[in-house]
């Protein structure tokens, strides 16, 4: 311990702290300034950026004592009192804040930039922010916000907000209102799980398997129990209930007892007085393993000599065989004049949400906690509660799950992480217990996007009509089922692409392996199949000498088409319009005569296009429902309550807008309470692009019911007919009275008369059918077309995606600006899938266990994005809306690959694109690359 003298945000501090503290720890733990976030502790992500003597540094790798005597500025010190810094306001105005976890880092880095360069160019911004990551926004809005704020600082008017055009905006719906909690997010006040502390709180850590497959012979915890400061050490024997969890199949041990199945499997957990003691404690637990044969890839997993991971699973390592049968496949190919058949490979990829997993367990009876309570930023709070109940062997109703703000999820926060572990430790110790994963732990632990092998054969007639698609997919499900069944089902059912394909035979094998489990990830399997489908489409077009857009137009799904799963599309199929939008923008962008490809010196340029569709909602026969509650108060405000997790993409503002619309109150009068299983009804999982549709509807209908109740009361109050009452900006008007009533007045009257100004609605989605039974497998689909412009450096093979033109049919944009941000973010994430990302596992051992070994796109990779919306209303959707979460992340990869082919004549069959292989293919005059970066 030593004395640190330091000035933080203008205040001098003198603190005695451990010399081993980093600046980020000092700020967060010792000063309680939790606005500074920790994302990686590797100087990679930049979100921990603070200023030391005015220059930004990564506080997570900056020793606190290095700042001895210095002036430190954090996000909490950026605003001038109550007045936001122009950048903070600009980030809000331009929609540059989604989950908000990276926002403090982006703001601190960009504020330093505009201090130094008052008029930064796009390149200046990209240079300055190249190591400050955002996983949600796609950076387009960030660049715009910085330029706008810089102008304001120079005394110029701000830049116009780049809002998309929408049809028929309503009172609040289809208006770009600011998202919920956005002020808190730009000022560093927003609280994510790790920002919560409780008096007496303990710190927990997990001992994880270093081996991909092994028998556990012995776990010896004697030594650790003697370590001062250790409060609990628990193993599989201490799980009070069933030692298994899992969202679809319960096959994942809470703590492994007899066997570990991947590097990262949890074996023991400890709780201690400090994080450091917990760290030390892990090293005193001795586990004896007997290594077993490693199943490292899904094809080997299927072979008879592969060791079986889950002996109780009836089909061995085959988790599930998924089949689509439609028409007569042989006849389909017999009718074809051209047939294209290829094999494609996609790697395991990582969500890289910037907030690593964190959970806090608080025991029953502690403080005002009446139940065992778990604070967590999870995508599925009610299912967490249920999984907790089974493992803790207590009823669901004895557990409370409180959802905190979530620093990004993208599908990676659906499975159980530390929730059960902290509940066990809190129960045993009688104290609150926090378990925060390091970035490195997060990387090895949580389920990823499936690596897939896709063999696909496409047939078409001379005039471009698709006749048949036959495909075989292998999905690497990893050690536990997670959502593999559902994800690979989606990969299979969407393997025809968004086209009218009369004959299809698709088989998918979801396999258990000793790799990190695979589960949900934005796109949910469709990202993988689209990579194959859309390149085959371009090859068909080339073989027929047909324009690639025209081929897609000819085959595009429309109302009246029956999908390969036997679903007749009856409404809201906007694919053709999206194709036409992109065609128009592509033609417009070229200035002169449009060319698919051209050269300029050693740079080759090419456009490529791809289409996509994605279901909204769970579908496949799963009952899909969501519940929301709306309450009105005497001050004229409303509160919407629902347990629908907001990963940052904004279900909170969507439900607020729906309620404001129905009640015709200003948006600013609506509060939202999300994800408290004791106070908010179940909104269901935030997955499958379902929340706007499902919980949007629940909120809309709850608000409508509340409005009806209030109308009744107002009618009684004033003794006028209910139908004469109109709602207007928080007032109730009627031609039968002169004075309008304030909404709050009616609520007051209701209270006096013992009436509740509160309504709930449980919304049930239209019924769907399981795969294989025909009928409606899904209740809505969103559609998209994208064109990508790439630049290939023919000297180096380097590929840059310069521009993406996108058009997306989402039914209705509830919040156009935020929805556009979601699309931009999805596009950049999908660009990463194509160009930068692969989670490498070597014979079961993750190589990508550091963020420095897993590159997501940075701002310097961000393309210019032009995004248009098509709004083919979905009759059942709230105001016609359908899902948007995943659709933008599906076709960017094949669009870029098609563009690369058009630019240099080389077809990419494995991603991420390897510049090395691409250059050598160009040099050798070869037309295909099958080696991706991870195979160098």
């Amino acid at each position: 311990m030593s004395i640190l003298d330091i000035t933080v945000n203008g205040t001098q501090f003198r603190r005695e702290i451990a010399e081993s503290r980093t600046l980020a720890q000092f700020l967060r733990v010792d000063l309680g300034l939790t606005g500074t976030k920790i994302g990686c502790e590797e100087a990679e992500c930049g979100i921990c950026s603070v200023w030391v003597d005015g220059t930004p540094v990564d506080s997570c790798v900056y020793p606190a004592f290095k700042a001895q005597g210095r002036r430190v500025t954090t996000i909490e010190g950026l605003a001038n009192g109550e007045a936001l810094h122009p950048l903070q306001q600009s980030f809000i105005d331009h929609g540059a804040v989604q989950c908000g976890f990276c926002t403090p880092g982006l703001l601190m880095t960009s504020a330093a930039l505009i201090e130094e360069q008052p008029d930064p160019t796009d390149d200046d911004i990209k240079h300055a922010l190249k190591d400050t990551f955002c996983r949600c926004t796609g950076y387009t809005s960030v660049i715009q916000a910085i330029k706008s704020a810089a102008r304001e600082k120079r005394g110029l008017p701000p830049l116009t907000v780049n809002e998309p055009e929408v049809d028929e905006p309503m009172h609040v719906v289809s208006r770009s209102v600011p998202p919920q909690d956005v002020i808190e997010k730009v000022t560093g006040q927003a609280q994510y799980t790790d920002d919560y502390t409780f008096p007496g709180m303990l710190y927990a850590r997990t001992l994880r398997s270093p081996l991909p497959h092994a028998r556990v012979i012995r776990i010896d915890t004697d030594q650790v129990k003697a370590l001062p400061g250790v409060r609990a050490v628990l193993t599989h024997q201490d799980v009070p209930g069933e030692n298994l969890h899992g969202l679809v199949y319960r096959d994942w041990p809470v703590l492994c007892g007899d066997r570990v199945r991947y590097v990262g499997d949890a074996v023991a957990i400890v709780a201690a007085d400090t994080q450091e003691i917990a760290d030390t404690a892990l090293r005193l637990i001795h586990v004896e393993y007997e290594p077993l044969g490693v199943v490292a890839d899904p094809e080997y997993a299927h072979s008879p000599d592969a060791p079986v991971l889950h002996p109780n699973h009836p089909t061995g390592n085959l988790l599930k065989h998924i089949k689509v049968r439609h028409g007569d496949i042989e006849q389909g190919f017999a009718q074809a004049d051209v047939i294209v058949e290829h094999e494609y490979r996609t790697p395991t990829t990582e969500h890289a949400f910037l907030e690593p997993e964190c959970a806090i367990g608080v025991p029953k009876g502690y403080d005002d906690h009446e139940k065992l309570t778990v604070y967590v930023g999870s995508q599925i709070p009610y299912q967490d509660r249920n999984q907790l109940a089974l493992a803790m062997n207590i009823p669901d109703t004895e557990i409370r799950v409180i959802g905190t703000l979530i620093g990004g999820g993208f599908g990676g926060k659906e499975d159980i992480a530390g929730q059960i572990h902290v509940a066990m430790l809190a129960t045993v110790t009688g104290l609150p217990v926090k378990m925060l994963y390091s970035r490195q732990e997060s990387l090895i632990f949580h389920p990823k996007r499936h690596a897939t092998i896709i063999r696909i054969k496409t047939g078409a007639t001379r005039d471009g009509k698709l006749t048949a698609v036959e495909a075989t997919l292998y999905g690497d499900g990893g050690a536990y089922a997670s959502l593999s069944d559902k994800v690979m089902t989606r990969a299979t059912t969407h393997a025809t692409g968004p086209y009218n394909v009369p004959n299809a035979k698709i088989d998918c094998y979801a396999m258990y392996t000793n790799n990190v489990p695979s589960g949900a990830f934005r796109g949910f399997g469709v990202t993988q199949s689209a990579f194959a489908v859309e390149q085959n489409m371009d090859m068909i077009a080339e073989a027929l000498g047909m324009d690639a857009l025209e081929l897609r137009r000819i085959n595009a799904q429309t109302v009246g088409v029956t999908t390969a799963t036997g679903q007749l599309l009856r409404e809201s199929v906007g694919l053709l319009e999206t194709i036409d939008d992109v065609r128009r923008d592509m033609l417009d962008s070229s200035g002169q005569e449009f060319q698919w490809a051209w050269r300029d010196g050693h740079k080759a340029y090419g456009w490529g296009i791809a289409c996509a569709y994605k279901n909204t909602g769970l579908g496949g026969g799963a009952p899909d429902k969501s519940e929301a509650e709306v309450e009105a108060f005497e001050d004229g405000t409303l509160e919407v309550r629902t347990a629908a997790a907001d990963m940052g993409q904004g279900i909170a503002h969507v439900v607020a807008q729906c309620a404001a619309e129905e009640m015709h109150v200003p948006y600013g009068r609506v509060r939202v309470l999300l994800c408290d299983t004791d106070r908010t009804p179940n909104g269901g999982p935030t997955t499958a692009s379902r929340q706007t549709f499902m919980t949007g509807n629940a909120a809309r209908l709850a608000a409508a019911a509340l409005r009806d109740a209030i109308t009744q009361s107002a009618a009684e109050m004033l003794d006028i007919p209910p139908h004469s009452i109109r709602y207007e900006e928080g007032l109730l008007r009627s031609e039968d009275t002169r004075q309008p009533l304030e909404l709050g007045q009616v609520v007051g009257w209701m209270k006096q008369h013992g009436l509740s100004a509160r309504a709930r609605h449980e919304y049930h989605a239209p019924k769907t059918q399981p795969l294989g039974t025909g009928g409606d497998m899904h209740f809505a689909f969103s559609y998209a077309t994208q064109a990508a412009l790439v630049e290939v450096d023919t000297e180096t093979g380097e590929v840059a995606c310069l521009k993406v033109l996108s058009s997306t049919d989402i039914g209705r944009a509830i919040n156009p600006l935020m929805l556009q941000g979601q699309i931009e973010g999805g596009i950049v994430m999908a660009m990463g899938n194509c160009l930068t990302e692969a989670f490498i596992i070597e014979n079961g051992v993750p190589w990508s266990r550091l963020l420095s070994r897993y590159k997501m796109p940075s701002i310097k990779h961000a393309p210019e994005i032009v995004s248009r919306l098509v709004e083919h209303r979905a009759a059942e959707g709230p105001y016609g809306a359908k899902g948007v979460g995943e659709i933008p992340s599906i076709n960017t990869t094949p669009a870029i690959c098609n563009a690369i082919y058009n630019a240099v004549g080389v077809r990419v069959f494995a991603i991420p694109v390897d510049q090395d292989a691409l250059l050598l293919a160009i040099k050798r005059g070869e037309h295909a690359i099958r080696r991706a970066w991870q195979h160098v």
């Binding site: 010399e19 790798v61 400050t132």
Partner: protein, 302 residues
């Protein structure tokens, strides 16, 4: 897991050396820490090795030692303290004027947060075969001042590299004090360029720094120093390439000569997740073309 126990910020070199002696090999020098602490983080989070990890007992921060954090010029040389940050170098008009390649190589390292703390000395002490700053220092024919066994001395920069990741300067007892190199004269120019990939670790696939001196008429290359890295476990000069272009008239043919000489004399290897040997061969040609062209342009602009 803590990565170190004690942290010292000595104000003089002697004080720093005293602390190193006092800890008798259990302390080590830290500058910006962006390599050192990230390496420690990588070790402590490796599931296979975490159990054996030991924190550094003490870190001796040299970035408050005035002589190590200054850029200075003498009549014919530039002197850069080992604790000078990449940002200081990028912003230095002096270095821009007299060693453009060093500005170029330091400017591409990390983002501003890293460049604001990461030092040139740290880059060199890390002893990677292709540290960006190192590559340029080699082309500048720099010398390094070190303190070893109680003696301060200047050594040629290349003598610092005794193996991949292994420096002559044992940072548990020795110190790297600074660097010096001759100013590039008006008839001399330098340039640096590198090839990266957007995946995997942020190490260059290949980097190349060139120092070129032209004859009195400005028509021929009188002498050159070239460093292409990585082509060996430690950085080295491309002597065959330098010899091949010395005396050659400036122009396209000189570049072709350089590329040919590099092809014949240098054999970069395949490294996993970074590049194949064949690709690196191609990149040697690209980088030589880019850097030599930049030098020739700079010379003709004078």
């Amino acid at each position: 897991m803590k990565l170190w126990e004690h942290y010292h910020t000595p104000a003089t070199t002697d004080e720093a050396l005293g602390l190193l002696r006092q800890y008798a090999g259990r302390a080590r020098v830290i500058a910006g820490g962006t390599d050192l602490l990230v390496d420690a983080r990588a070790a402590v989070t490796d599931p296979g090795k975490a159990a054996a990890f030991q924190p550094h007992e003490a870190l001796i921060d040299i970035t408050r030692i005035p002589e190590m954090t200054h850029i200075a010029e003498t009549d014919d040389a530039i002197v850069i303290g080992a604790g000078v940050t990449h940002t200081q170098i990028v912003k230095s008009a002096l270095i821009k004027r007299y060693a453009a390649c060093l500005v170029e190589s330091c400017g591409v390292v990390g983002g501003p947060q890293v460049r604001n703390v990461a030092t040139l000395g740290g880059n060199v002490a890390h002893a990677l075969p292709a540290g960006d700053g190192t590559t340029s220092l080699v082309a500048l024919d720099a010398e390094a001042e070190i303190s070893q066994g109680g003696v301060r001395r200047w050594v040629p920069i290349l003598d610092l590299f005794v193996g991949t990741g292994k420096s002559l300067v044992d940072s548990t007892q020795d110190m790297l004090i600074g660097f010096r190199f001759r100013k590039t004269a008006p008839d001399q120019a330098t340039a640096f360029s590198r090839i990266m990939r957007p995946q995997g670790v942020a190490l260059p696939i290949l980097g190349c720094a060139v120092w070129m001196h032209v004859n009195g008429e400005g028509t021929h290359c009188a002498a050159a120093r070239i460093c292409i890295a990585p082509v060996a476990p430690t950085p080295k000069r491309a002597h065959e390439v330098e010899a091949a272009i010395s005396g050659q008239p400036l122009g396209e043919a000189l570049i072709e000569t350089a590329i040919q000489a590099a092809d014949q004399s240098l054999a970069p290897r395949t490294s996993k997740y970074r590049a194949t040997a064949e690709y690196r061969d191609e990149m040697m040609a690209v980088l030589l073309r880019r850097t030599i062209t930049a030098c020739m342009n700079r010379l003709s602009a004078v």
